[in-house]
């Protein structure tokens, strides 16, 4: 994971901005590991959270900043950012295994969102580590399908350090 970097990018919400970012990454040989885009705090702005694989993250942030529609680039790797992902995971849960699966899921506050004859689908929200741990826990039961959102992240407010437990 050493050359994975977490970046958030505040961009103008204009048609094609995502294509500009993706094209620039492709052209410069930066590898997008995960990407999430959505509206930001102001109406005409979007915020992207990008996990990128590149040897030199400074080039990545500078090239992002160079795009005309980019307002602000923040590199969050190494900082104590709030990071979240959503995972939908469908696992085998035959009748005899069902309660064991549900018990394990409860520990992770994973929410059962669909129950079939032989499977249960959980929704899990959390930081990437939590999702990875939950996946490990479910593997022995048999993972039928899995889908994850891109990561979203925000820098923590420095003054809120003592209240960290909330996040």
């Amino acid at each position: 994971m050493s050359n994975h970097h977490l970046i958030t990018v505040l961009v103008e919400d204009k048609p094609g901005v995502l294509a500009r970012v993706a094209t620039m990454f492709a052209r410069r040989g930066f590898n997008i590991h995960s990407l999430a885009v959505g509206p930001a705090e102001e109406p005409n702005l979007s915020r992207m959270t990008i996990v990128v694989e590149a040897p030199d993250v400074e080039q990545v942030t500078k090239q992002l900043q160079k795009l005309i529609n980019t307002l602000k680039v923040v590199e969050l790797s190494g900082t104590d950012a709030i990071e979240r992902e959503v995972m939908l995971i469908r696992v085998n849960a035959e009748v005899e295994k069902r309660s064991s699966v549900l018990d394990a899921a409860a520990v992770f506050k994973a929410k059962p969102v669909d129950v079939g004859a032989t499977t249960i689908t959980f929704e899990v929200v959390g930081d990437p580590q939590k999702l990875a741990d939950f996946l490990e826990l479910m593997r022995p039961y048999g993972v039928v399908s899995l889908v994850k959102s891109g990561r979203i992240a925000l820098a923590r407010e420095p003054k809120a350090r003592n209240l960290r437990a909330i996040g």
Binding site: P15, G16, A19, R20, E58, Q59, K62, K66, T70, L71
Partner: protein, 573 residues
């Protein structure tokens, strides 16, 4: 209020930006824009190929410093422009390209002459637009000119669907305020960094000022000269910066890089401080970057923050405009002078000028009855013009000789395709340069291979009355390719030979409406060039039939270390 079509608004917006000439080629989707052009004072030059139109706009921009404009239709018209856009992007040339597009209702349907121009040109432009809201046009054009010409200059493309072109709007003058919240180029260097830079310069024993194309783009040549003299710094000028510092100046060590001067390459290699201004540590300058100037600290001044630290870590990074920062460096240096004078560095100065005199560039011999040497022809052109010309080069051996052997003393007198190395650049770029600087003697120094890529633009020059001059260094080979095959491919000359006497360039010149001359021996060269220089009512093509086996030296093989400079053929044995 009077309503006008978007096409009219487009031309009006170009007039508003002060455009006096544009280069293009019409077609279906862009036809609405050609109609109001018929009544406009803007002169349109009908290029014979859109790539030519793009290079003309580049030549115009590089000769004048103003934004060059080109226009093409959708589909193949737009794709033909791509090479010029890529070229302008590499060499930071301010151009605005306008392309027609199929109507918005047809976009995405594989309509006739549809190409995804906006997507295709994204990685080869500084910025591009697909206009879908007609009312925006005056502001988009204004923004495009602003983006092309400020910060690090570059190409900007505006793609205009045909139905948008036909829409009517109420004209409004662009407000002049460009609303680009994500685009705020830093022009002023950070004062603390400027102070540190001066300290480093004062401590340095073996400094070299590494001047790049940014000096010319920002018009910083006068400041550069003052600063180099005041701080007592030897200067090298890159391929993009020829003319940014006078070649005739004692502090000038020549051009660095793959075919640079030994003095320039070696001074950088041995220096303890590189002061890079508007230069980007291109691989043709550094050779293998891990072996490049390993003992040097680096001060790097550039308006593009992404260039700083991209190839070489900077000890003192300064984001800013070359001219502004040089002004700041000058002010700071002037302030400390008296108490803290630059060291004389007499040892270093003697060493570098020793290299300069021991290894002059020209290493050819023109024997009176022997084969004509390409270098001799170029030196004769320099003599017959008194050096008073704008030189525009193609790409290959002739380009390197033109960069090495001419004595450049003023900016914007050397125009070439540096970053992209685009064969075919010279003829159209020379036409654009001549349109921008009609009183100058504009000479393209071209290769036979390059000339054949865009020679049809000589018809454009002849019919539009643009008296450019072209010197074809005809070695009936893709000479540079041949040189590499000789050196690195065991003399297996695969696909690098052009036919000896075809075409007949004199007849070809005449057929295209130009004057044509040929020189085959040394004593024919000067008289033919004199004749060419005296013609001003037509374009002129001069063919010089030269020795196909001459090679360009010095040479640092691609990816090699700059410690090993091959000085001549004899060095190879």
């Amino acid at each position: 209020m009077e309503r006008i079509s978007i096409s009219q608004a487009l031309i009006k917006a170009l007039e508003f930006e002060g455009v006096d000439v544009m280069f293009g080629h019409p077609g279906g989707a862009i036809l609405p824009a050609y109609d109001p052009l018929y009544d406009s004072n803007i002169r349109h030059i009908l290029a014979r190929h859109e790539q030519g139109a793009g290079h003309m706009a580049e030549g115009y921009a590089q000769a004048t410093g103003r934004v060059g404009v080109c226009m093409a239709t959708s589909g193949p018209g737009a794709t033909n422009l791509i090479t010029s856009l890529a070229n302008a992007y590499m060499d930071s040339i301010p151009i605005v390209a306008i392309t027609g597009q199929v109507p918005t209702t047809a976009i995405g349907n594989d309509a006739f002459q549809e190409a995804h121009t906006w997507g295709i040109t994204m990685p080869t432009t500084k910025h591009n637009y697909l206009v879908t809201n007609a009312a925006e046009i005056p502001d988009v054009v204004h923004e495009a000119f602003h983006l092309a010409s400020t910060g690090r200059p570059g190409p900007v493309l505006i793609d205009l669907p045909k139905d948008i072109l036909n829409t009517e709007v109420v004209w409004h003058d662009p407000t002049g305020v460009v609303d680009l919240p994500g685009y705020k180029p830093t022009t002023q260097g950070h004062p603390l960094q400027v102070k540190t830079a001066i300290e480093l310069i004062q401590q340095s024993e073996r400094p070299v000022l590494y001047a790049g194309g940014g000096i010319i783009a920002s018009g910083a040549h006068a400041e550069l000269l003052k600063f180099a003299e005041l701080a007592n710094l030897p200067v090298v000028t890159t391929l993009m910066a020829r003319g940014a510092f006078p070649d005739t100046h004692p502090l000038h060590l020549g051009m660095p890089g793959m075919h640079g001067f030994y003095s320039a390459i070696t001074a950088m290699q041995k220096s303890d401080l590189l002061i890079a201004i508007g230069a980007r540590f291109d691989d043709r300058v550094t050779g293998d970057p891990s072996h490049f100037a390993t003992g040097a600290k680096v001060i790097h001044v550039d308006i593009d923050p992404a260039e700083i630290g991209k190839i070489r870590k900077a000890d003192v990074p300064i984001v800013g405009d070359a001219r502004t920062v040089l002004g700041q460096l000058l002010a700071r240096l002037t302030k400390v002078l008296g108490s803290d004078d630059p060291p004389a560095r007499s040892g270093w100065m003697e060493t570098v000028s020793g290299w300069k005199s021991a290894h002059p560039i020209s290493s050819y011999e023109q024997e009176p009855g022997g084969l004509l040497k390409p270098q001799y022809v170029i030196e004769e052109l320099f003599k017959t013009t008194g050096g008073d010309a704008i030189v525009v080069a193609g790409v290959g051996q002739h380009q390197m000789w033109a960069a090495q052997l001419w004595k450049y003393t003023k900016p914007r007198t050397w125009i070439n395709s540096g970053g992209a190395g685009t064969m075919g650049f010279a003829v159209p770029a020379a036409i654009g340069a001549k349109m921008g600087m009609p009183d100058e003697n504009v000479w393209a120094i071209d290769g036979d291979g390059c000339f054949q890529m865009t020679m049809q633009e000589m018809i454009c020059a002849a019919t539009e009355g643009i008296p450019v001059k072209v010197l074809i260094i005809n070695n009936h080979n893709l000479g540079m390719v041949r040189q590499w095959q000789r050196l690195f491919y065991n003399e297996r000359f695969s696909a690098s030979e052009l036919t000896d006497h075809t075409p007949d360039y004199v007849k070809l010149a005449e057929a295209m409406g130009c004057a044509g001359f040929r020189a085959e021996t040394a004593d024919e060269v000067a008289p033919v060039l004199e004749k060419a220089n005296s013609i001003n009512d037509r374009p002129v093509i001069v063919e010089a039939r030269v020795d196909p086996d001459e090679m360009v030296f010095p040479m640092v093989p691609a990816g090699g270390s700059n410690d090993v400079v091959i000085l001549s053929k004899e060095d190879l044995e």
